[in-house]
Symmetry: none
Subunit: 120 residues, 4 copies
DNA sequence: GTGGTCTAGACCACT
DNA sequence: GTGGTCTAGACCACA
């Protein structure tokens, strides 16, 4: 349960992982996320690296620090994460993807109708 | 046309730029691409960076070096680029994008209706 | 009245709060301050944290412990707090603030015209 | 030339130091700031610590990264720093200071007329 | 040369 | 117990 792509910083991958869990409701709002030390030891990575990931989420307002207690999922984090990630996707990722699809003369509609794991 | 994203290496961005131009037929097969020096001075980047991008395209068989003359788009480059990039896109890029679309519960219709350059 | 800045220890913030109340005469000399338990439960913080704040004030001679009865504002506490805090303010806090005002080239008139709770 | 208060993180002190230099025009806009390694070695601190300070300034838009080249003072940084720091001071620091001055029954006008280094 | 990332380990303040 | 900070040293990608 601890394998990381090495073309992307671990702390970014971890941030995305936690964010996905918040999105999916796997960690409820108001609930504590696993402590820095715990994640570090389970995933066999450095506490600093975990800290960096968590700090990013705090900066985005999805996590809250409570001094001496730990980090907690902020109220409204699930909804906030959803709209914030949607906006990022629509503004940044999708336009580029769309451009590439056109350049490669592929069919957007057909691509979108694919299921995950499919190979056209 | 001299601004670069700083989250991706310049030489990769430049490679993609040239590749897109080949795909779009903006540089015909057999035609010369701008010299390393010219690109470097116009884009105000290091000649080594330009060289690196060109070398990648040579390695992929899309450009040809002719000693003393410069770099030229290889015969069949447009078609080769198309199939090779399609392969890469379908295998690496699209699955992740598709997964993200599902995770964010985005609307297929809305995605289809966006055109290049649009904002939602 | 239960939100704390997270860039300063809670026990210090609490100490300042009580001290301000003594200065302002909100808690008269000889009067009891709210019990550790009461504050802890009202403010939803750890009793140890409250204790720490109270202990600081005891050390400064502003509060007195009476076994089995609680903590009381010491005789002469208001006057003592005043001179002691003035000293600290003039020696430590104000010089830095003054330097910053000069560095930011702020207008004395504007600063004077602001009242508590104002925004520029 | 490398002594730090130990009640505040070094990286914050360093950030403030660089910010002050930008404010004072000691480092002109477009000019490079000393490299992470250079500062680290001169000040006898860890490169990571320097990095953290610089990263903050990048986040605030006062510094710009140029890949492989270093960090540069952004265009308009001096003015931006001035207004940004002013706003922070007026909104956060001054109101609290004003409240304290009143609680201590001091005279704001007299305090403001003090010169740096004075003792009333 | 530049900054970015990571590790291993330490110490601190806070609750 | 919690997170925050710092060190010393390493390796990497980029220009």
């Amino acid at each position: 349960m601890g394998d990381w792509k090495d073309n992307e910083p671990i702390y970014l991958q971890l941030r995305d992982l936690v964010l996905t869990q918040i999105l999916g409701g796997l960690i409820a709002e108001g609930e504590a996320v696993p402590s820095v030390r715990q994640v570090a030891s389970e995933e066999r990575i450095n506490p600093l690296t975990v800290s960096k990931a968590y700090q990013l989420l705090v900066d985005e307002g999805l996590l809250e620090k409570r001094r001496g207690l730990g980090m907690f999922v902020a109220q409204g984090a699930q909804q906030a994460a959803l709209s914030q990630e949607r906006e990022r996707f629509l503004n940044e990722e999708w336009p580029e993807t769309l451009a590439r699809i056109h350049a490669l003369q592929l069919d957007t509609e057909q691509l979108l109708s694919m299921q995950i794991g499919d190979r056209s």
